[in-house]
């Protein structure tokens, strides 16, 4: 029989190496899977991991896909550090896009540089308030924030459906359930910043906030309290940290970040609110946060790698006839290996002989 025993000291080097090991193992096992499916594994891995980062068109799409993932993951990582598990970023993403989008649609026809920033503020507040619902329920009634935040995703999606059928529907859209196109309207359209990598104004804000998160966690007293709460809640309590405040602050930050990501997606890549607006960034960002070891720089890298596999995965579908599900399996495998290696670094597998 096998048993896990915690190691006295886990290797720091190995800890930083786990994401690399996870990616390499995914390539090997994934490659074997592709081989079994009759697909050349080298071609598939080239398309999934290399081509997205060298082909100029693919590069120009990289941050279109990576920015929302990184921004949401950044917010989530702060909560995860404190042991606050916000699983509902997808819902906060939707509410952010709805609140910011509603402001933009209400101001339809007006012009001014202030419109987009105002929409961004509305989106951040909307996302934060949505995330504060599980925070309040946890603080007041000790309700599990994992369940509450997850359930609120479905509430948000139905609210979105209601809105695009109703007040936010395009009056010139022949009755189709979608809003006006905010990306085709100068005052509400997100400006591009660095096209070769697909970085738009939202990408710039994302990078600034990432730097802010780094500062918060490394240098600021609040960052210390967040980390302390996650590592040792009792010690944090003795040090005078109020757990309620940490819960509210971390959920609020992650909600605001997801809300902003929703707005950038709306005013940039997507253009309009439709029932199919949420495509899973809020859930994928959880993988990004862990793949990046809850560290801002790691998250940046992880977001880029995962975005690459999405873009490469689409190419692999029509160039190699790889089914969409195989790409999803591939991404799931990456998280599986990461978590698996992490256990092996922190624990030792020992053989226990059962007494007869």
């Amino acid at each position: 029989m096998l048993r896990l025993e915690q190691r006295q000291q886990s290797s720091k080097t190995m800890l930083y190496l786990t994401p690399v090991l996870a990616v390499v193992s995914t390539m090997v096992v994934g490659g074997a899977l592709f081989l079994a499916m009759g697909i050349n594994p080298f071609d598939a891995i080239y398309l999934l991991f290399i081509d997205p980062f060298i082909d100029s068109y693919n590069l120009s799409q990289l941050f279109v896909k990576a920015s929302p993932l990184i921004l949401i993951a950044m917010g989530l990582s702060i909560g995860f550090k404190a042991g606050v598990w916000n699983i509902g970023a997808e819902g906060q993403f939707v509410i952010g896009a709805l609140s910011g989008g509603a402001v933009g649609l209400a101001l339809w026809g007006s012009t001014g540089w202030w419109i987009l920033p105002l929409m961004a503020v509305a989106a951040a507040i909307g996302g934060a308030l949505w995330a504060l619902i599980p925070a309040v329920l946890k603080i007041r009634f000790n309700a599990n924030e994992i369940l509450v935040s997850l359930m609120l995703v479905y509430v948000a999606e139905n609210l979105l459906a209601q809105m695009v059928q109703g007040v936010l529907r395009n009056p010139e859209g022949m009755g189709f359930p979608e809003s006006r196109n905010l990306a085709r309207n100068d005052p509400t359209s997100l400006p591009d910043f660095f096209d070769p990598l697909g970085i738009d104004a939202g990408g710039v804000v994302m990078l600034l906030l990432l730097a802010g998160a780094f500062f918060l966690l490394q240098k600021h007293a609040l960052g210390f309290q967040i980390k302390l709460t996650g590592e040792s809640p009792r010690a944090a309590r003795f040090a005078g940290v109020k757990p309620g405040i940490i819960i509210a602050v971390t959920l609020g930050i992650s909600g605001a970040a997801a809300g902003l990501a929703g707005l950038f997606e709306l005013t940039g890549a997507a253009g309009k609110l439709t029932i199919d607006f949420p495509v899973g960034y809020g859930f994928t960002a959880i993988i990004v946060a862990f793949l990046g070891r809850l560290n801002p720089i790691g998250i940046l890298l992880a977001g880029v790698v995962l975005a690459g596999t999405y873009i490469g995965g689409e190419n692999a579908q029509f160039l190699l006839k790889l089914p969409a599900a195989a790409v999803t399996v591939f991404q799931g495998m990456m998280l599986f290996f990461l978590l698996g290696f992490e256990i092996l670094i922190n624990y030792r597998v020992i053989r226990v002989r059962r007494a007869a």
Binding site: Y57, Q165, D276
Partner: protein, 360 residues
């Protein structure tokens, strides 16, 4: 020296000629791309498009190369996938969902040498064609069958989005049902999705609780069919033959048969005769077809259905023929008047007799 210059000039001219010949009719296999909103295993909408892709392969063999990307969300991702396909040297791309409309036009503008075929949309360009099927003809027929088969006089309808395509289907089915059974009542549930097996099943159960004994759907998966089978009521399949999911429940299915159209359009690319058109074909052209009628249908009901199908195909019966009033009682079509395609394309009202109001 002079001789060799002449020779070189001839060679260059020859190359130029070869080049222009290539522009006219296609050399090498024609590359055909498909963008799907669902997975090829959805047993409904996307499945039928993929069956048609396979028919294209069977028809042309080595002269075509087909590829597809499935489960593509209708937004920024669709635009990227189309661009990547176009860049990879695909000659013709079928974008098979309404929500791909704007992405298709954007990408088509960037790749003028690639031609696009957008299903169920209404925006066209020099290199963008639109095509759809007159599914309402099929819905009129299943309406007639439902009207004859219901005992509770309550027919359930699982509707996706309140857009003209869906509203037209409800109206056609209702008119068909009412022509057979004046007491018939329609219960419509809006699920706001094209494919979500869970929601479709919930809708089916809710309808059955309201006393419905025949279910129709405008969604893509067979989940309502499996519920109907369990509860021992009747249902109609959508897009593909769903008899496997409801051998006792399925009365027939409206089949989307895109194969002949896809073959014709790919042939046009091969011949260099492709041009932008708007196609709206129905039972007559074979784009709308039916799964075998269930043996649960009494002979007279089956005969009536066959007769209606034949009459629609022959252009003798049009589902939207007056007198028809709108739900509010105002006159829509006078006696003998037939609805024009423009009105049908933008249909956003219920006909008289339907309960409830369109969500807005």
């Amino acid at each position: 020296m002079k001789f060799s210059i002449t020779l070189a000039a001839a060679a260059v001219m020859g190359l130029a000629l070869a080049g222009s010949a290539q522009a006219e009719s296609h050399e090498g296999p024609v590359k055909v791309g498909f963008i799907y909103v669902g997975t090829v295993g959805d047993n409904g909408w996307t499945y039928q498009h993929d069956q048609a892709r396979l028919e294209v392969e069977a028809e042309f063999g080595d002269r075509v190369e087909t590829s597809y990307v499935e489960a593509v969300p209708e937004g920024a991702d669709a635009e990227r996938v189309m661009s990547q396909m176009a860049r990879s040297g695909v000659d013709i791309i079928f974008t098979t969902s309404f929500g791909y409309m704007d992405p298709t036009l954007n990408v088509a503008a960037e790749f003028p040498d690639v031609v696009f075929e957008h299903a169920t949309g209404y925006k066209r360009a020099d290199n963008v064609t639109t095509y759809s099927a007159r599914f309402y003809e099929g819905r009129y027929v299943i309406g007639e069958i439902a009207g004859a088969m219901t005992e509770s006089n309550k027919i359930g309808y699982i509707a996706s989005f309140p857009i003209p395509e869906v509203v037209r289907g409800i109206n056609a089915a209702y008119l068909g049902a009412k022509s057979i059974n004046p007491d018939v009542e329609f219960k419509v549930v809006w699920v706001y999705t094209w494919l979500d097996p869970g929601k479709e099943a919930d809708a089916a159960n809710a309808l059955i609780e309201q006393g419905v004994d025949v279910i129709m759907q405008h969604t893509d998966t067979p989940s309502a069919m499996t519920i109907a089978e369990d509860k021992g009521i009747f249902a109609f399949g959508q897009a593909s033959d769903m008899a496997a999911f409801g051998p006792n429940a399925q009365l027939t299915s409206i089949l989307d048969d895109w194969g002949p159209y896809y073959i014709e359009r790919v042939q046009a690319v091969m011949d260099g005769t492709w041009e932008s058109v708007d196609t709206w074909d129905g039972i007559a052209e074979g784009m709308v077809a039916f799964a075998p009628l269930s043996d649960k249908l009494p002979a007279d009901v089956a005969a009536r259905a066959e007769a209606t199908i034949a009459a629609i195909a022959a252009g003798e019966v049009f589902p939207f023929t007056g007198p028809i009033n709108k739900q509010d009682g105002s006159v829509w079509l006078a006696d003998g008047e037939v609805a024009d395609d423009g009105t049908l394309a933008g249909m956003n009202f219920y006909v008289e007799g339907l309960d409830g109001s369109l969500p807005n």
